[in-house]
Amino acid sequence: MESNLPTNSSIDTWTESLLCVKGLHKQYVRGGLWWKRVPVAAVSGVDFEILRGQTFALVGESGSGKSTVARCVARLEKPDSGRILIQGTDIAQFHWRDLLPFRASIQIVFQDAVTSMNPRFSALEVIEEPLLIQRQRSQGEYTPQNRRDLVRTLMEEVGITPDWMNRSILHFSGGQRQRLALARALALRPQLLVLDEALSGLDLSTQAQIANLLLDLQATHSLTYFLISHDLALVARLADVIGVMSRGQTVEVGQTQQIVTNPNHVATKKLLASAKPTASNLTALTGEST
């Protein structure tokens, strides 16, 4: 298929829109007691589109509303207004019962894998949990033995030996837990994976391992990634398209190359400037000309 986007040759279906967000608004209410409550606009006008097979990254300072967008897209929050189109269906105002089939195709991975897992669960239980939740839909497709086999495959895919499937998740290291979280997210074979700061807070070597794993998984499962991050330097290595958020709005969306080399908005320039001092220091010190 013809694609005029200058990037990887393995992506040939970059024409179909998988996710389209239009005019998203979300307000939170702050303050516990009702007479003290103040509405706070977390997201006020976010527009972007993610094509199938693409990696889209939403970057911005902390507090710019990027996590709220992620939570709205995964429908963990109900947006106040705006449209979230998944392959043409607007799920923005769906009731949770109608959301079930969509949940299978959009999975989210959080920064802190530990707090998103039941600490009493074993790796097996953590990974098979989504299969049990979606059991109604699969109509008895998954017997315990089937599930175990699937978990085995998933663990191999994310690089953890399946022999450890009965270990409590407390016995896994930070990087391994992030791998388990990925395995759980992949259990339902989703189309879109939302990674909310999934690479932050990891050690550098672990971060590089997980980033490589993401690239491998994308190639084998033709996944679409929606990355949320404050780290422009990291995201520039992974994303095809970058959207920049500031004060609840998308202020700039463009090809990675364009955003990095020719930023338009002040917020983008600020993010780049904060990534660049360390970058230029490093290149000066390592003496590399990249």
């Binding site: 990887n8 050690d203 290595r237 993010l271 010190l285 990249t290």
Partner: protein, 330 residues
Amino acid sequence: MDDSKECFAQVRELTVAYYPENGAPVRALDGVNIELRAGDIVGILGESGCGKSTLASALLRLLPPHARCESGTILFRGRDLLNLSEKQLRALRGLEISLISQDPALSLNPVMTVGSQIGEVLRAHLPIDAQQRRERVTELLQEVGFDRSDEIYSAYPHQLSGGQRQRIAIAQAIACRPALLIADEPTSKLDATLQAEIVALLSQIRKQHGTTILVISHDPALFAGFADRIAVMYAGRIIEVGSSAEIFGRPLHPYTQALVRIAASSVVTGSSTRFQFPAIEGESPDPSRIPIGCRFEPRCSERMDICSHSYPREFMPEPSRPVNCFKYGK
């Protein structure tokens, strides 16, 4: 103390072990040597679980009850901190050595205004009255970069952002002008813009007051252009020490080399996306099952036969560049 300039603080052969209630003891630090010269910014670089935070706590004698310093000395201005009484330590902490912790959201008291929290440090150590204290706190708030210090003075921690809280923690730490400041992952919970600001603030404090700063981080990029010297830790031991330029320009240990390669690869270029990162395979060893040989051996791309059965001693391939690797001697 004439030689205080020469040897301001020194850790020698420090070994710290944790004794969990059930299970075998775990050695978090194993014969760690490090020397701090007055006015230096020294970086400790290491992955989580390598013992870098244990080292920070040990320097302040703030280890949890189930941890024990098995051997070694911590000399600070001519005294061995391991021999001081709890009372002497209380006089020392905050006045001469202070700590900036990783998460100011946890280290600040949620029911006290930030002004009174900073004042508390002054009250504990200095004989000044309430009026002077208030003035001093206002000065400190301005020093760490708050323009409207009066408003901040009476704010509670939950009303501030993460970056502001970290500034409060810094103001608290420098309130008594300590000689040594220990910053344990001061920027890991902050985003990139704020990281740069905190680094600039710490550099400025060193410049103005000659404070020695020990910074602990897992991110080599943080140290570039900031730390004077860097000690690289791996699985409870320091494996390489060098100046910032040496560590980034000519890393000696294979682990440091790999880390610097990763750090340099995440530099923003925008030229091409979706290529593999130069990762280090595997994970650092389980602290309860440390191998006899070199601790990095299972992940090392340059491993030799000798590496698996004995630990390399400190070699000095270049002046003041100690490195623990058999590549540089037998």
